[in-house]
Structures are given as C-alpha cells and as structure tokens.
Symmetry: C2
Subunit: 142 residues, 2 copies
DNA sequence: CTTACATCCTATAGCTACTGGAGGTTCAAG
DNA sequence: CTTGAACCTCCAGTAGCTATAGGATGTAAG
C-alpha cells in the first residue's frame, strides 16, 4: 500500500495533481486509513501511469478519460481508441506546421536586427507591419 | 473614430479580448462618448495590431508588454527587443523538437493498431507501458 | 418623434491543467 | 512520548481569454 507521496514519486506526479485527478473523477476514490489518509494499490499505480504517459503525449484530460473508459472495457472494438490517437496525431502535425512557419519568421526578424536604436529595430518593425511577413500564421498561439 | 466592435473586426480580435487587454493595462483607456461607450483612433488600431501580430508569433502578453514599452521609446538601444525575439525563437525550437518526437510516437501507435478488440489495442498498450516507447518525451504538454 | 434592434456597458463566472499556501491532523521512528 | 515529515481540507491563483446576465446606448427607419 502506497501513500500519496510514494505514488507521486513513483509516477513523477505532484501530490496535489493526484488529488486533483481524484476530484475530477479521473482517479477513483482510494482507500483511507483510520486517520483519513489515502492509500493506493497497484491498480491505482497503473492507472496513474497511464494518465501521465498520455499527458506526456499531449492528450487532453478529456481524451484520457475516454481512453481510460475504453481500456476498462477490453471486449469493445478498438477503433475509438484509434480515432482518438489519430485526432491527437493530426493536432500535433498542425501545431508542427504552424511552429515551423513561426520559426522561419522569428529567424528572419532576429537575423535582420542590426543592433541600433529601437526606432530602427527590425524586430519591432516586423511586429508593427504584418504585411512584411512572408508566412500567414493567422491562427493564434502555437 | 471606431467603436469597439469595428476595431475588433479590423484586427480580428473579439470585443471581450480588447476589454481584457485594457483591463490588464496592455491597451490604454480609450476615449468615451457621453453615454460611456469606447471610441478608438488610429494609434489604438496600430497598437492592437501589434499586440495581435505578436500573439500570433507566440509571444506571451508579458513579452508583448516589454516589446510595446521598447516600441514607445525609439531612442533606447534595441538589443532588448532582439533578446526577447531570440528567447522566443529558442522556445519555438524547443517545442518543435518535442512535437517531432511526439509525432513519431503517435504515428507508431496508430500504425500498429490492427483494429481488433480494445484488449489487444496497441494504442492503449503503449499508453499502459511507457517502456515500449522509443522516445523520451518526459516533459509534459507540448 | 418614436420605436426597434444591434451594439454597447459592467460584473461575474468559467475554461484547461494544474500549483501553491494556510492552518490543522496523522503517522512512524527514535 | 515526543518529534517532525508527510498528510488532510479548503481556497486562491496562473495564462489568456470566452461566455453569460441584465441593462444602457446609438442609429436608422417609419
């Protein structure tokens, strides 16, 4: 039986994060000691490892909820899990494309900066005038 | 003189977002009509365009605050603006590297899924067992 | 001049995925 | 039996918006 701190260490999760996962129903209510402290077993360790791994691969908590649900029903067909993973892959590829465009633009900005007064700074100039951009980057964020 | 809605349309920003930028001090308090509605001029349009463009390039609002500050003082040396852009470029490159690793892993997962029962699903299996991964992807997010 | 209606106003809450702190309790070692 | 690390709950905060409620304003048509 693991304390929450031991489970946290084993999975590379913060204690608060585990409690948070419990709160939102991603982790089940664990057993408790008489004094009210949480104690975890191997099933909990597996489940949390799954969650953390999926997070590292960029899946949202909602997607992970679905994946866990599928994982809990071994007899159902697996095309749903496949679809979720494909969706994730697509998103990653879109973000990659956007980031590559950003990198090009930033490189251009930085390389053209001669290091004089801010009045002549290419970095600021490019930000001021979108029409100087070569790429589109219309969507926000990355 | 532009209404907030017109300014929003011109810059591809939501009305609420403009009010939010004002609230956090990124946009100045605009003039108002007798009835209390905001009215914007060309300086506001330029400033908001600058902000939006920088956001599209992935700069945080804090970085944008610095860039705007530099932009407001044309006689200062510009190495700070350059440093901010370089920092941003570095971050973008790091994210690119991570996303490329994720893409590889997701591709492998998806391609290995044969489409049977969830019990045999490669997607779920890989998530369950991190040791099956080829890449590291230890940091979270993307 | 009035009415209709789109747009505006403020204030507040919500989103994702956590993280941190205050103030108090429990557990295990010595 | 005492100490002190680790636990507990509850609440607030992060970034960067977005959405809603409930009401006021501005403008164009009749």
């Amino acid at each position: 039986m693991l304390t929450i701190g031991a489970l946290a260490k084993k999975t590379g999760t913060k204690v608060q994060t585990i409690r948070y996962y419990e709160q939102i129903g991603l982790m089940p209510d664990p057993g408790r000691t008489e004094g009210g402290q949480r104690r975890y077993g191997n099933a909990d360790l597996d489940r949390l490892s799954f969650i953390r791994h999926a997070r590292q691969l960029g899946f949202t908590l909602e997607a992970i909820r679905e994946l866990l649900d599928l994982s809990d029903h071994p007899d159902r067909p697996c095309h749903e899990a496949d679809a979720i993973a494909r969706r994730q892959l697509k998103q990653v590829e879109q973000r990659l494309a956007r980031l590559e465009a950003l990198r090009a633009e930033l490189k251009r900005m930085v390389h053209e900066c001669a290091g004089g007064r801010t009045a002549d700074c290419r970095v600021l100039e490019v930000l001021r005038d979108h029409s100087e951009c070569l790429t589109d980057h219309s969507e926000i964020g990355a």
